[in-house]
Symmetry: D2
């Protein structure tokens, strides 16, 4: 029996669509890990293509088929090939891929060197047409920030809090997620750690209080490092403090094209 | 034309169901406010009844009709009437109602007395059968906590953070949401505020550092006050710290029936 | 006692920041309602300004003070005044304001005309500098979509599902949220309703099955109407189906500047 | 230098605490897979112990150390050992462990047998004291449901939607997650699939329309199977429909101790 291909029908409205595809599918993927080679994790994935004005719809199942083809090899270096496969298989001019996943790094406590695993949410997004390839790499890094104002005006202590820094970059030459994470952690009052014994807690508290930072300072510190980085051509960094003295957040955002 | 009433059909599986109803409907409601009389807000509501073994289904649209009947009068004092109406209109033995909503209180900064509005997420849930009525009142209160361990071992500062305390109570006599909120705020290192000018920030920082509290301290401080409270017969309190030195949270939970 | 103004210190890094401010504050606001005049609701608000390179930080408490000034009058028509007040009070060149809130409209069931209240999440964002004002108005509208492919190939039924359509517009002359909502609801297989009695459920089911729509159809139907709309100068519309045959969503996105 | 052990101080309030520990930590774990042996995934973990009245606090870092000890062996069969380790290392009477993680199964399309990976969110929680061990196993399964009422009263089609079924069980003898998932999928109008080609979509649509199910039917169908299951001693099942004709959900909940 022949089943009608409704999607391939002519569409009389003649409006092309920027992005059509699937959103929010979860999938096991492998990510290249600077230290250990390959890391297994679970990604949330969006896949879109453009739709020319003459067609009624996209064949959504083909996105899943492409995921299945690349399953164990969804590395950053393969993104252009996945995008090309999407363009080919869906007869599209532009393909878009967005992947986010938890990524774990071994982290040692600063004094006792007790090891543990720290999670960072990471992002990769790619768009590709015949002429152009655009890749953005991103990390979300939890940090500690001590408030410079509170410290300057108080006789005891200073309010501090967990902050979340989101950094996205475009690059000339490949940059490791590990390097982006290091840049962010060096830009806050202190990194955070899963495992801190008492001597570590003392160290982190004191270290952070010697480096008080507003959200403004955090994005500038990240910016300063990236403006100097030879492989980065664009970045966008936001810092959001879960303020300990408020129920709302403090926020700063900095974006730059270098050239 | 007569439309078939599928829900009223006999169900041969003979399994009664504990709760059937609607979940996650958003609705504008009015809440009695200790200071100003009535406060307009937006609630998320769940409504369930039991379903006897002999019926195939519940008539879901009747829940919405009941909401519409009580619309401007969804006060705590009306909960028993709403529950009775549910039991009657849906021919049920037991009715359940869960309401959560943001609630705003005027809050003055501790030194400058600059006023602002502070949001607290509140909960009311009720269950009623022929013989029994059970009402639980709850608040979620953001607070500030300073770590006693970090303070004791560090030479400068102490890590502190935003925490969230959730308190639920059963009572003999009506208790205001305002009173529950006050009890929680007094049990932490400090309340948090939407608006703090510099002298206020200095005051809050110093006040909090003079009252360091673990999550364990916070639930015990709340517990101590409620064990002494003549109108409370049960409580459950949890404290969750958005730890500034970790990406995970510290948590404590305390529950007691008094008698 | 004089408290040091750390924020006003000179910053030697000389990096200006695009946006600095507060994020995620919840606040009771009033919104102009086409039918009833004024509607009380609860908003989530972000407020940002740019920060010149020479200053270390922004005075975050001033954002809250501005919210307090405008509290009962956070109407769309007041957005430019709020933005100007932000620029003035924070000595900034550009101010940004983002507001999202649940908005309720009376909705009648299509046959029985049983009335109920339907919630729509709405958005307003504004940015203003000396030279430019940019306002975007948005709505998120839940709809029903019946799959044209499933209907064409199946001998019985067709899969259908709840979808969420997000529409944002820029305009020459003020457009009511109500009008945007109507445009979206007319573009799907059917609107959804809080309250449907049996004759209404029959009507909605049949109505929707006579108007099968892919996500691609939904964004094109919205697009077609807005391309013809004299007051709209830009729009971005996304349709996301909570597919009933998959655990992931189908998605389409269409954006246009007109002329 | 000796650092003060604040947590071990005597607490004069003399209130024991039900649960103290860490919440929301993310961690890579391995899960036993019925078909393939071992599956790598990422879990969110909560770990609590009770705190006797005489101690001021718990040593939170020890939870992380225990996680690290068991890292590659967080299997269901190891839960009692992890709980004992928690009791020992934290000098506690009762230990609690809650783990949730995405779990992937190969799923073939019903006609073309095209393979793909389907994600199920799974839960394991355990509590252990000297005398008692309590383990609960759970799965959340997306399904498709066709409304029996809409089908009976409409001349064309029937509204249907994605539903989410959450099943938790206590057991006498070990039960595979795969078996729980199969029971749920057989109890709905149809399973959902990541990948369906046109003949599959036709099949699923028709299959589901021949098995219309309310949320009430779904929990009863699951209940019927579990009441007959020799290894299950308790279950709680909820079904929640993302109704395609409403913006709110339909919900049913059924819980039973067998004996």
């Amino acid at each position: 029996m022949e089943l009608k291909d409704v999607q391939s029908l002519y569409d009389p409205r003649e409006i092309s669509i920027d992005k059509v595809g699937i959103k929010g599918i979860r999938y096991p993927v492998s990510v290249l890990d600077k230290r250990r080679g390959v890391q297994h994790t679970v990604a949330e994935i969006n896949m879109y293509v453009d739709l020319p004005r003459e067609f009624k719809g996209t064949h959504m199942s083909r996105f899943i088929e492409i995921l299945n083809e690349f399953r164990e090899e969804i590395y950053i270096k393969n993104i252009p090939f996945i995008l090309d496969r999407m363009r080919e298989k869906l007869s599209a001019k532009v393909a878009h891929l967005e992947i986010s996943f938890p990524y774990f790094l071994k982290k040692e406590a600063p004094v006792t060197q007790a090891p543990s695993l720290m999670e960072y949410q990471c992002f990769i997004s790619g768009a590709k047409s015949e002429e152009e390839l655009d890749i953005v790499l991103g990390v979300r890094v939890p940090v500690m920030t001590v408030c410079p104002c509170s410290q300057a005006i108080s006789e005891i202590g200073a309010h501090n809090q967990r902050g979340e820094v989101t950094l996205k970059v475009r690059f000339k030459r490949f940059v490791w997620l590990e390097e982006l994470i290091e840049i962010v952690e060096a830009s806050a009052s202190s990194p955070v750690y899963p495992l801190l014994k008492r001597p570590d807690e003392k160290y982190v508290t004191e270290w952070a209080h010697q480096r008080p930072r507003f959200v403004e300072d955090v994005v500038r510190e990240v910016g300063r490092r990236l403006l100097d980085h030879p492989d980065i051509i664009w970045f966008a960094v936001s810092a959001e403090n879960l303020e300990s003295i408020h129920a709302h957040n403090a926020y700063a955002y900095l974006e730059r094209w270098k050239d």
